[in-house]
Amino acid sequence: MVMPNEIAFYLIAAFTVAFAVAAMTLRRLVHCALCAAAAFAGLAMIYLKLDAEFVGFAQLLVYVGAIAILIVFAVLLTRGDEVRPGHSQSSPSWMAGVAVAVLVLAGMAMALLLSPSLQRPAPSAAVAPVKKIGEELMTRYVLPLEMVGVLLTGALLGAVVIAMREESEVKRPARWPAPRRAEPGEAINLR
Amino acid sequence: MLGRGILRGLIETWRNFQGSYYDPARLTTVQYPEEKLPPQENARTIPFLVYDGEDPLAGLRCTACSICAVECPAHCIEIVKDTAKKPDYLGKMQFHPKVFNIEMAVCMECGVCAEVCPFDSIKMDRVFELSSDDRRMVLQKSDLAKSNDYFRKIHPAEAAAVDAARAEEQRKAQAKKDASPVPVAS
């Protein structure tokens, strides 16, 4: 008799895998992006099933709320969505790709199945209230936290720098007057 | 940018909100079919024909001179003169119209006919609820004739001026008749 717990897990896993496969195989790129977002949500459900509340909601917030939107923006702004008639969507060397994927899967499966941690009894689900996560982040894992913060700040600054450089590279025709801020009380003459 | 303008705006809309319950200046809506706006002196819509006294046919001021039909920019007035004559308010014998039709679908309510009429007989009415479910947009003489009392009601100042002018004319005509009496044939 399959426990309801296992049924739930199989359903969530099927959901996630189905959307991940759809994300690879659909024709239109935006559909693939949306299916990837659904796969992220499936992952969040797996985290929640393991009682990891913080990680599950953070997964939703970050992946579905930010990264999926980033992906769709990237797809749209670079016009990668055009369906070219006459070209097949899969690459000609798909057999090599399948071979590499099977090799990677085999390697990982071997590593997992032969690892000693499967011999040990399953530990009880660790209780990780958010308070404890916060304390650990601030004491034991403070260095990785700060490094990640520095990395994210660097990424943000880099994005701003890239965007700024694009604007300043644009030539302006000589007949535009140099822009200046209007004095208080001065009428702005838009010719 | 500190939010002072926003606060002042908020106070004003709050005053609007609370004033709308008791202050008529703060709730200026006139709920149309039940309430109507007070009419104004110079409002005009379609033309009508004025008659003096009780009888529309006998008191009609129109003499079928056709000036309004000629001046009408939209050419919507149709007049057919009657052969018989009848006396006007000064006693002179004048023609009167047998047929006087205005096509209201064409009339653009400009008021030129009322301006040019020498007999003060066609004036601008104020009715605007003209919707009907038949296509009858041609108003005939019987529909157009309305009494001078009605004219006084809708345009009091203009009617008073017209009545004063006509009374003056009558007085002058009477004075002339009294000054040089018609010799009585004996």
């Binding site: 939703l60 709320g65 923006f73 749209l76 | 908020l10 609007n16 703060r26």
Partner: protein, 391 residues
């Protein structure tokens, strides 16, 4: 009046007790879901008509007053109209995504009501990370906006959707940052705990709500403004207002799908208002000890209604912000202010409660950046526009 206070909880227990023991949790959950949907559905209908009437009164006119007494059946008339309208889907639209977008918007928003504590013992789920759940759900609905705009295959819809997403993402940052000092003060992410942390009265009569502290007031203001922007509410309703002028991501939607979009938007407004009441205004706590006879869900309703009225009042007063003004306001004014607020909240907690100096210090630490940022922030630019790519 404890019985009145717990009337919903005891009703739900009694009704669930009527079911067999094996399905009792399921029945209890279904009852709660049905109750929430009924209450907030009615709230949505009432809000549409009351908003129109209130806006009308603030604009020197009546609102709708023909359908039913004082126009109160207007939402019924609107609902019937939406239901019988023809559902037009553009020929080249992406049918699946076009169909799913209104659902993807509305369903996560219903989920957000599960964590709000509406009264004593009255939150549907007591999660350890309740606030995080709330914000995660809020960010999931942005993808639905994109789906709506893209699937219409309409350039104006797409641009409108992009603008709407940019606005929602930009204002999520001040929203979350304004809520963080509350988490610091309460020491927990769970919403019933946050309400509990605001219990008690300082000086015997001032409630210990977070809005009555300097950092709480600033945080409440920032949260309120960001909440208005998140649910596309005037003065931030550029995605909505554009639909009247050019287009917007709602163009190609007609009939009931359009109604679903507006349902989703209003429900989002209710959810975030409920969160504001919980975080800053003490949730279901009464404002004075002698007022505690009034049930806790009644106090929640009163505070909730007051905030909704404030949203309507601001909508009647302020003009719409332009896109660049909107984004500048978020990034250059609200985010620095929210970060400074975080620092000020930390300073507040450094001083023990007895010292009155901490009021002055924190108020000063907040007022100075507010005035400085306010004077130096320009809403958009007054220079001549430089069109970089149009040559």
């Amino acid at each position: 009046m404890n019985a009145l206070d717990q009337i919903f909880v005891s009703t739900e227990h009694w009704l669930a007790g009527l079911a067999p023991a094996s399905v009792r949790p399921l029945v209890a959950m279904l009852l709660i879901i049905a109750g929430l949907m009924a209450v907030f559905g009615t709230c949505f209908a009432l809000t549409t008509i009351l908003e129109r009437k209130t806006l009308g009164r603030m604009q020197n006119r009546f609102g709708p007053n023909r359908v039913g007494p004082f126009g109160l059946f207007q939402p019924v008339a609107d609902g019937i109209k939406m239901l019988i309208k023809e559902d037009i889907v553009p020929f080249s639209a992406d049918k699946a995504v076009h169909f799913l977008a209104p659902l993807a918007l509305t369903v996560p928003v219903w989920l957000a009501f599960a964590v709000l504590p509406f009264g004593r013992n009255m939150s549907a789920i007591e999660l350890d990370a309740g606030i995080l759940f709330f914000f995660a759900i809020g960010s999931a609905s942005e993808l639905a906006v994109f789906m709506a705009g893209w699937s219409s295959q309409n350039k104006y819809s797409l641009v409108g959707a992009m603008r709407a997403i940019a606005q929602m993402i930009s204002y999520e940052v001040p929203l979350v940052l304004a809520g963080v000092p509350v988490l610091m003060a309460a020491g927990s992410l769970s919403l019933p705990d946050i309400v509990q942390a605001q219990s008690g009265f300082a000086l015997g009569w001032v409630p210990r709500w977070f809005a009555f502290t300097p950092w709480g007031l600033a945080g409440f203001a920032v949260f309120f403004i960001a909440a208005a922007a998140e649910s596309n509410r005037c003065p931030f309703d550029l995605p909505e207002g554009e639909s009247e002028l050019i287009a917007g991501y709602l163009t190609e939607y007609s009939g009931f799908k359009y109604a679903l979009f507006f349902l989703g938007e209003y429900l989002g407004l209710f959810a975030v208002t409920g969160l504001a009441v919980t975080l800053f205004l003490g949730g279901w706590q009464a404002p004075a000890r002698w007022l505690e006879w009034f049930p806790s869900w009644g106090w929640f309703t009163v505070k909730f209604s007051a905030l909704i009225f404030l949203f309507i009042w601001i909508r009647a007063t302020l003009p719409r912000l332009r896109m660049d003004q909107l984004l500048n306001f978020a990034w250059k004014f609200l985010v620095p202010l929210a970060l400074i607020n975080l620092f000020v909240a930390a300073v507040w907690w450094k001083f023990p409660a007895a010292m009155a100096i901490r009021w002055l210090l924190c108020a000063g630490l907040l007022a100075v950046p507010y005035v400085w940022l306010g004077r130096h922030w320009r809403g958009g630019t007054t220079e001549l526009r430089r069109y970089g790519y149009a040559e």
